[in-house]
């Protein structure tokens, strides 16, 4: 059972306080978008074995959404960060590169170190 640090209230919350919200950093496509764009937004999801970025909500707590970077294979948590960003902070990306050199996720690429 996971523990994630809620960056909003500072609690190391166990999974029973949290609600999983699927993949992070999706770009919304609304009216005017092509069928392909809309299909990608609505249905296409990453399913990596390794580095992944997710949305979580501290539902039995402060109620805030946040982002988590973790390894789906070992369940190692690289970090949690604000929900109000379009991509993971560089500092966190560097930390992941140190632990998982050469990681890739959608358009993001870690360094090989």
């Amino acid at each position: 059972m996971l523990i994630l640090h809620c960056p909003y209230c500072g609690v190391d919350a166990e999974e029973t306080e949290l609600h999983a919200g699927g993949e992070a950093h999706l770009k919304r496509f609304g009216p005017g978008s092509s069928d392909e764009e809309f299909e990608g937004y609505l249905f296409h999801r990453e399913n990596p074995k390794g580095v992944h970025f997710e949305r979580w909500r501290h539902v039995n707590g402060c109620g805030k959404w946040f982002h988590a970077a973790r390894c789906t294979n070992t369940l190692e948590v690289f970090g949690t960060y604000s929900a109000q960003v379009f991509e993971p902070p560089q500092e966190l990306q560097d930390k992941i590169s140190a632990k998982r050199p050469g990681w890739e996720w959608r358009d993001l690429k870690g360094s090989d170190q």
Binding site: Y8, C9, T16, E17, N60, G61, K64
Partner: protein
Amino acid sequence: MSEALLKTALSGASSDGFVRVEELGPQGMITLRGDFDSAGFAAAVKKAVGLALPKQRKISTGKGGSVAWMSPDELLVLVDYDQVGATVAKLNAALEGEHALVADVSDARAFFRLSGADGAVRDVMAKLAPVDFSPAAFGKGDIRRSRLAQVAGAFWTPEEGVMQVICFRSVAQYTFDLLSVSAETGGEVGHFG
């Protein structure tokens, strides 16, 4: 309006195990949302309740009531039930021009008090919430939102040997039963002394 008409969720139910559980109230509660970084917001709270903004996961108490940190943009203001209307009005007036939300939620909650030996009170809570209740991790002035078994709850310890718990009004009976069964004699854990 007659006071006699007011009914809390459980009409002041209580139980005595190795910890006493009692329903308190009615208790005035106001949800206040706004920008904590705005000077105007902090000034309004100070003006209406006489208290500075509490730090993360803290509750501060003064003569006029208490203010609890609920999230980075939400406070819970506790005042006497008959002061709620006046306090809401004061807050709204002081927040004129600020983007903020003030809502009376006094009736939306049930309010409980656990009392007994400090360790025993912590033992009861630790049966229900996935929270470290050791005095070092959770002391006077701390407030925590979490879950109590299957429902959301918030709690703080105003003094040694006392825990105050709030939950939604509709699940008052469930929460009271949870606390009472956890405090039943024979279930002493002795973990927190």
